[in-house]
Structures are given as C-alpha cells and as structure tokens.
C-alpha cells in the first residue's frame, strides 16, 4: 500500500492528459533549441556580411592604378648638375621632377597643346608622383641621365574612372573626354595597371588617397600599446594581488572594489579628458605623443586588468595557499610561487583583451591630440603620432572617394591585429595552463 496513492501511478503515466503534456514539453524543448540555432545563425550572418563588405572594399586599398611611362632623368630638365667622375650627384630640393613627368607625358601624347591641355594631361598622374620619382633617384643616383620605363601612380580620378568603367561609362566621372581618350590609349598599350600598393603599409597619412598609408598609424598604435602594456600590466596585477591576498576586508576596501568596477564602465572619452588634464595640462607632456596616448589608455585598461586578475586570483583554490603556508611559506612566497603561476593564464587573457579594447579605442586619443594629420612615421615615444582607429576616423571624414577603400583597408588591418591579439591570448593561456 502506498502512501501517495492519490492517483494510481500506472494509470496516471499512461493517461491521455499526461501524454499530451509530455508532447508539449518535448515540443517546447525542440523549439528552444531551434531558437538558439536561429540566434547563432543570425549572429554569424551579420558577421559575414560585415566581413564580406569590408573585405570587398578593403582589398582595393592594397592596390592602386599606375601608368607606365618612359622617364628620362635629364639633368637639364631636373636642374641638377652632372657630377664629375667618381662623385655622386646631389639631388637638391629644387630639382624639378614634375618637369620630367610633364616632358615624358608630352612626348607620349604630342597632341596635347596649350597650358590647360597640358595641365589636364599632368592631372592623370598623382600629385605624389614627383616625390616618388625623386625617392627613386635618391636611392640610385646612377639613374641620372638614364632613360627608364617606370610605373607612376595615377591620380585618384583615374583610379575611379577605371573602376566604374566596367559598370556604366556615363557615370559622373571627373575626367574630361580628352583625359579619357588618353587613358584609353595608354590602356590599349598595356600601360595602365592595378598594382600592389606597398605604400599603404609603410607610409604615413597623405592628402592624396593613392599616397596615404597606415604605416604611421600602425607604428603609432604599436608604440602606444607598448606604453599601455608596460604601465597597466604590472600596476594592475600588483593592485589585484594586494586587494585579493593582503588587503583587509573592511569598508574602505569594499568601497575601493566598487569604484574599480565602476571605473571599468566609465566612457572612454572621460579617460581622455583625464589624460588631457593630467598628462598634458599638469605634467606638460608633448601633445599627440604615443607616450601620452599609452598612459591615457593605460588608465582605461587598468580597471579591466585588475578585475580580470582578481577573478583569476580568487579562482585559485584555497588549499594551494593553505598547503604552501603549512610548509612555512611567507605570504609573498605563497603568491609568487603558487598563486600567480596558477592565475597567470586568466591574467594574461584579461590583459590581452583589455589591450585589444585599448587598441580599438578612438575617443580618448582624440582628447590628447592624436587625431592630427601626421605625415611622418613616428620613430619614438614622444614623436607626434596617430593610431589606427584614429586614422580610420580621419579618413572616414575625408571627402575624397579614394579614402573609402582606405578606410576599409585600415579596418581590415585593425581587425587582423585584433584577431592576432585574441589568438595570442588563447595561445598564452594554453602555454601557462597548469593541469591537476
């Protein structure tokens, strides 16, 4: 005899009511699973749309249109004195490489007559073409007086005309009919081509999209992040160790903990204001410098590292500390020998994620002047520099159409770097992980 014989169990489990309820429950389980799959699929779809659109635009940034011209480094046109035997030519700043280009173009197209036509002809080439030519002669002074075939960067307008030509020829091109005729003539000779643009990775910013590169921003970001890492990692880990292992548990430390958690949620531009007031205002450090950017981002990253490190340290089993102390280890020895090695994977992961966030940060850098137009690639921590996200912001703001693909290209590079940082986080995690 059972006590709970309110319902006869056998008939209950086999009743119609129970069976239909079971079916409902199973249906709900199924639907819940489908919902989850749908959510993941939606997320994956959005991500791939983003990646595809950025990739489609951004890969173009690594190519540029160039025109092959017969260039004669004529000392007379350049205005450079021919050196004596054994001497190398001195390439002066006043050397007129534009004239060399103009001459070359006019030889190719003798039909161009009059100042305006010649100006249109020269406008086929990038404004930076003369400078690239000068670089080439500086690199190899023996070219003086020689005649070579050189690929010269075309102007942004030519680049776009070629791109849109495939689609509709009657687009609102900025090229005149004459210019189009010239380009078509050059193209018929196989003298127009899209070639790999190494400058994109090596040079600094420029007013001309075809000359602008992310080299300066990359180095600027790297220098900035180095400062951020060097400042925030030791400080953050030390703070976390103190709070977790040594600090007494009282009103003050609890208050401190709340404040650190809040700091991690403070909008980044506020840290920019702090950096502006303290580093630039109070300490008079140089504007736009990676050292200031790094310090400002370190302020922002510190709470993230402290929180991640504290969580990681707190997750170290209590008995590890107890065992070490039982052998007579001092508190610092317990932390240094046992707790930190075990907590390190979590700390490193948190730090790298914090750095990844810092690398993508624009707002605080705006406040300390890293948003400037900087042509030179920085070489040390106090040079004026830009950073990748700031460079993207600057280009996105530019009216020239050529910058659109530069923006996508820079975003691709930024995404790749973020991917590398996250990959490094995973690798380091596996390397440091101790199993027991």
């Amino acid at each position: 005899m059972r006590n709970c014989a309110m319902v006869d169990p056998k008939s209950h489990w086999q009743s119609q009511r129970f069976k239909s309820r079971l079916r409902r429950r199973n249906r709900f389980e199924r639907q819940f699973r489908y919902l989850g799959i749908a959510a993941i699929a939606l997320a994956g779809l959005s991500l791939s749309v983003l990646l595809v659109s950025v990739l489609a635009n951004g890969l173009g940034a690594t190519y540029r249109t160039e025109i092959a011209l017969d260039i004669e480094f004529d000392p007379e046109i350049l205005g450079i004195e021919v050196p004596g035997a054994g001497e190398t030519a001195e390439i002066t700043a006043s050397a007129d490489f534009r004239a060399v280009l103009r001459t070359s173009l006019m030889q190719r197209f003798p039909d161009a007559e009059g100042r305006s036509e010649v100006r249109e002809l020269v406008a086929l080439l990038s404004r930076g073409a003369a400078a690239e030519l000068a670089d080439r002669l500086v690199e190899d002074p023996a070219l003086l007086g020689q005649r070579i075939e050189a690929w010269i960067p075309a102007s942004d307008d030519v680049n776009f005309w070629l791109k849109s030509e495939a689609g509709d020829s009657g687009s609102n091109s900025r090229l005149s009919e004459r210019q189009v005729a010239w380009i078509e003539a050059l193209a018929a000779d196989d003298r127009v081509a899209r070639r790999f643009n190494g400058r994109f990775f090596s040079s600094g910013d420029s007013r001309e999209p075809e000359l602008a590169g992310i080299g300066g921003a990359l180095i600027g970001s790297a220098l900035t992040l180095l400062v951020t890492l060097a400042v925030s990692f030791p400080l953050g880990v030390a703070a976390a160790v103190y709070l977790e292992e040594f600090a007494p548990d009282n009103r003050w430390t609890r208050q401190l903990e709340i404040n650190i958690n809040n700091l991690a949620a403070v909008p980044s531009i506020v840290f920019g204001l702090l950096g502006l007031a303290v580093f630039l205002g109070l300490f008079g450090m140089p504007r736009s410098a990676p050292v200031v950017g790094g310090l400002t981002l370190a302020l922002m990253t510190l709470p993230v590292i402290i929180i991640a490190s504290r969580a990681s340290i707190a997750a170290v089993p209590f008995w590890i500390r107890e065992s070490a102390r039982g052998l007579g280890a001092s508190p610092v020895q317990v932390v240094a020998h046992q707790v930190l090695p075990i907590a390190m994977p979590g700390i490193v992961t948190g730090t790298l994620l914090g750095l990844a966030r810092a690398m993508g940060e624009t707002a605080p850098l705006l406040m300390i002047g890293m948003v400037a137009f900087i042509v030179d690639v920085p070489t040390n921590f106090t040079d004026a520099a830009s950073a990748l996200p700031v460079q993207i912001f600057l280009w996105a703001d530019s009216p020239e159409r050529g910058f659109v693909e530069k923006v996508s290209g820079a975003i691709l590079v930024l995404l790749a770097l973020l991917g590398i940082l996250n990959g490094a986080a995973i690798l380091l995690r596996q390397k440091f992980e101790q199993h027991w």
Binding site: D249, P317, W319, I320, R321, E322, S323, A324, R325, G326, L327, G328, A329, S330, Q333, H337, Q338, I342, Q434, H435, W436
Partner: protein, 275 residues
C-alpha cells in the same frame, strides 16, 4: 568536565624535557586554549599535550573543534579572518604566540598534512623540494636530490615514483598524492607533524598504507592526527583526545579511552550512539 592532565606548573623556559602524567616526553602543550570565530566560541578552555614519541589522535563528531585545535599548533588559524586564539601553546616549552615566535619558523618545525591530498600543480620533485626552496635550505644538485629521495623514502613513495620524478604530481593516485604531501612536509625536516583527517579522501588500501606510514614515522616525529575514523584512531594512536561541542571531554591513553572510558559521553560516542 574532567581533564586527565596534571595541573602542575609549567616551567618558564625549556630547561629540561618535561613529561606528562604517564612519563612521556611532552613535545607540544596547549593550556587554557580558547578559539573564537567571530562570536562563535569554537574551542572552550582546552588543555592538551602532544607527546614526543607517540601519536596523539583527536576524535569527536563533526564540528567539535578538533581540526580547529590542531590548526592552533602551527597557527594556521592566523590566516583565517575573524578567528581569535587565546591561551598558552608551547613547543618544547617555548611559547609559539605571535609575539614570541616567527610563524615561518614555527611552521617549519611543525609541519601539516591536510584532509585532501593537494599536491601543487607541479612535478613530483618540485613538490617535495618546495619546502627546502622557500626556507633556502638545500640549494640544488646532489644535496637537494638527497633531501628529495630521503623524504620520498620516508613517506614510502620512493620506489613507486623514482622513475618519474619529473612527471606532474597530479598523475599520481589519490593515496600516492597524500603520501607525496607527507613527503613534502617531511622535506622541511619538522619536529612535529599535524595530520588533519589525512585518510578521509582515500580508499581503504591507500588508507592502510598511510596508517602504516604513520606507524613508521612514530618516534621520529611527534604526530597529532585528527580523524573521523574511530578504528583508525585505535589503530595508529597511543593517546586519544575526545572532543564534543568545542570541549575536551576526555584525554588519555588510547587503550583506556577505547576500552574503559571514564566519561559516559565518550562511551556513547565510541560505541556509536552518536557522531
């Protein structure tokens, strides 16, 4: 409450080895020890002695304070926030209170083995060498190797691990891990070993090995062991202290406690009425 310890005056300094009522040399003594966790009075006025050449077992139902008292002997309770210990505890007649003795020295002389076998997540050899390392005793090479071998031999583990000293400690079985923890404690060359339920996480065969080991270590080290297992207390110890609700109910030779307890409560416990 009755205490079967002599009420005579303690000597002020460690002049000569003191003996208890039964004539055994006292290694550690606790007199009038009280422990508070915040407002909870966990140990109430306990006096107890650990003999030099014997195994002292601390028994009693869960929450009776036996582990808490054990942890007083190497001041592990210092690290617990809100825990306060009063009373006089001595090692070889020297007071071990914070003002008298450095805790590092105390823990080097009074080693501890914990309830669960918790080796550090490192290699076997590093586990054993850790105590030497933190105290700056043996540096490296042959000297350290000898210490490691002796400790592992002392813990009866050498023959099982001699070929894989560099493999991770967690690759050992539970019983081996606990003996590794004992070897780790032996490597510091302590005078007293405190064992806090060393076999509660082990299977019967591993337990038997550890008990055998305790028997071998007796005489070389003063040993105090907390155990839930009454048969174990009867097997390994010569002195037994029975605790209940934070009080020491009865303390005496193991044979007497188990065969002829003087207090009814002790009798009820060892005969299985409660606990």
């Amino acid at each position: 409450m009755t205490q079967l310890i002599s009420e005579r005056e303690l000597p002020s300094a460690a002049a000569e080895p003191r003996t208890d009522a039964g004539g055994d040399i006292v290694k550690m003594s606790a007199r009038g020890v009280n422990v508070y966790y915040g407002d909870v009075h966990a140990i109430q006025d306990v006096s107890l002695e650990i003999s030099k050449d014997e195994v002292t077992a601390l028994i009693g139902p869960s929450g009776c304070g036996k582990s808490t008292l054990l942890r007083c002997f190497n001041r592990m309770n210092d690290d617990i926030v809100g825990c306060r210990v009063t009373g006089d505890i001595r090692l070889d007649g020297e007071p071990i209170a914070d003002s008298e003795m450095d805790v590092v020295e105390l823990r080097a002389r009074v080693g501890m083995v914990f309830q669960k076998p918790y080796p550090f997540p490192k290699s076997i050899v590093e586990n054993v060498a850790y105590g030497q390392r933190i105290h700056g005793l043996a540096k490296k090479g042959a000297e350290l190797d000898a210490v490691v071998e002796n400790s592992l031999r002392g813990a009866g583990l050498w023959d099982e691990v001699r070929d894989r000293l560099d493999s991770p400690a967690n690759s050992l079985s539970g019983g081996q891990q606990q003996r590794l923890c004992i070897a780790r404690a032996l490597a510091v060359n302590p005078e007293v070993i405190l064992m806090d339920e060393p076999c509660s996480a082990l299977d019967p065969i591993a337990t038997a090995k550890v008990e055998e080991l305790i028997d071998e270590l007796r005489g070389e080290y003063a040993i105090a062991i907390v155990t839930h297992n009454l048969q174990q207390a009867a097997r390994v110890s010569q002195k037994t202290a029975f605790f209940h609700m934070g009080e020491l109910i009865e303390f005496g030779s193991t044979s007497e406690i188990f065969t002829n307890p003087k207090i009814q409560k002790t009798n009820d416990y060892i005969t299985g009425r409660y606990g």
